[in-house]
């Protein structure tokens, strides 16, 4: 059973809910990527290498930007799902953004996003697809899980934020009350970079 979360992102119309699932130990990334490249419309999903995702806010911000551009008819890529992958980027280089954030053959941790751009796309239909297509362990889409997945060095390198201090490693005593200024600063810097892309 997939841990599929359906999110109503504030400010977006309620007719455009977003379905998000996070997987670890994905075994069939190469197959998923092939389907995507073949343009198989069944597989029109945003498939993101989760090691490049710092936090939930990081992902939601990229998704929001893509959907806002979609609503205003300003997509730079083929559809809203490819645009989500591109929207993680801080540069206008679409191919490069796919190489960095998109699914690769070697991807083990995968973030899957689907926007209900058509009425037949529902929580259930997405859940069924995930069940059938993705061979991996579903995990919750939250900051604690992502902090075990994200490759901070790689993320900092892509966003050219190498000078920023490193977030503290996750510790048991933090226990939910998470007050790591370094991580917060890095996260907010990512949000800013996403917002400014193309300006």
């Amino acid at each position: 059973m997939a841990l599929l979360e359906t999110i109503d992102i504030p400010h977006l119309p309620s007719s455009l809910p977003v379905h998000v699932a996070l997987y670890r130990n994905v075994e069939n990334a190469d197959y998923l990527k092939q389907q995507l490249l073949a343009g198989n419309s069944e597989f029109e999903y945003a498939l993101i290498d989760a090691s490049m995702v710092l936090s939930r806010a990081h992902a939601i911000t990229a998704i929001f930007r893509a959907i806002n551009d979609y609503m205003n008819g300003r997509l730079k890529s083929r559809n809203v799902h490819s645009e989500i992958v591109f929207s993680f980027s801080s540069t206008n280089n679409i191919a490069d953004s796919f190489r960095k954030f998109g699914i690769a053959d070697s991807t083990e941790d995968l973030l899957v996003v689907k926007v209900s751009v058509a009425p037949e796309i529902t929580h259930d239909s997405v859940a069924a697809y995930l069940e059938a297509s993705i061979k991996g362990t579903p995990v919750p889409f939250d900051d604690e899980t992502l902090s075990q997945i994200s490759d901070v060095a790689k993320i900092k390198k892509f966003y050219k934020l190498g000078a920023l201090p490193d977030p503290k490693p996750i510790s048991a005593e933090a226990n939910g009350v998470y007050t790591d200024d370094a991580k917060r600063r890095l996260e907010l810097s990512l949000l800013g970079a996403i917002a400014l892309r193309g300006s």
Partner: protein
């Protein structure tokens, strides 16, 4: 002041927002709303630069875009440098676009800062002092002054950080400095006016990236004049602000030298005083 005034309709996508964003202030350039961030449990500030129908549409788009992007760039840079400012959460410089090509202005979604502006803190403190000055002994007076000095010094630290990052604010007043409420509040002392909390710089609508001593000195001068005119009792303590500024910014010496020139020039003294 403008009761019958109706703000222009919100640009997309905020027509969907529920509950609707609440208008806080209406400046000449921008409208500021309170709403939620992309996480419904976290509040956010939404700044909208509406289209100005008096301008030629090409010029209007060019200016609106330039300015909102400039403001966002300054904020993003400052966040990266670790200066306390509201972070940029999302941005759209092209307004609503869409079907009829309708252009509704640009918007900037920012982190919400919870706390009072320094203007209110100083006003409350000055009012308290005025009411109680006769009944205070020298030691109490000094202690109170010390608290304000501490606040001004922290403001100086914030400004030093700002200038060190290569940004000038362009419109520094005590209304554009806030105190972020600390998670746990401490005893505000006899005045009931807390001066705790991190100093946060806000409203970068006139900010720019600059490496000029002149621009930095004007920043300080404008703030000095603003404190002089709105907080006369705090003005003698301005030196503490400059002390904080020196402590946090290596280039302070040449900026402060320039500040002396700017003071002498005092081009608009009559307007501010």
């Amino acid at each position: 002041m403008t009761d019958e005034y109706k703000p222009p309709p919100l640009p997309s996508p905020f027509t969907n927002t529920s509950p609707a964003p609440v208008l806080l202030t209406q400046g000449a350039e921008a409208h500021l709303y309170k709403t939620v961030s992309l996480d419904p449990s976290i509040p956010a500030a939404l700044k909208i630069r509406p289209s100005k129908p008096y301008r030629h549409p090409i010029l209007d788009r060019r200016l609106t875009r330039q300015r909102i992007v400039q403001e966002a760039r300054c904020l993003v840079k400052l966040v990266r440098e670790g200066v306390s400012v509201p972070a940029v959460l999302s941005l759209d410089w092209e307004g609503q676009g869409g079907e009829d090509g309708g252009w509704g202005g640009a918007w900037l979604l920012m982190e919400w800062i919870d706390g009072p502006v320094v203007r209110v803190v100083l006003e409350q403190w000055e009012a308290w002092l005025k009411k109680n000055s006769s009944s205070l002994d020298q030691a109490q007076l000094e202690q109170e002054e010390e608290r304000v000095r501490g606040l001004l010094r922290r403001m100086g630290h914030a400004l030093g950080g700002l200038h060190k990052a290569g940004v000038v604010h362009g419109d520094l007043t005590t209304s554009n400095l806030m105190l972020r409420l600390p998670a746990t509040s401490s005893d505000p002392g006899p005045t009931g006016v807390s001066m705790e909390g991190e100093v946060v710089l806000i409203d970068f609508g006139l900010a720019s990236q600059s490496a000029q001593d002149e621009d930095r000195a004007v920043d300080l001068y404008v703030l000095e004049r603003a404190i002089g005119s709105t907080h006369p009792r705090s003005e003698p303590l301005f030196e503490s602000l400059l002390q904080g500024y020196r402590e946090s910014y290596k280039g302070a010496t040449s900026t402060l030298k320039r500040l002396a020139d700017v003071r002498l020039r005092g081009r608009k003294r009559s307007m501010l005083g």
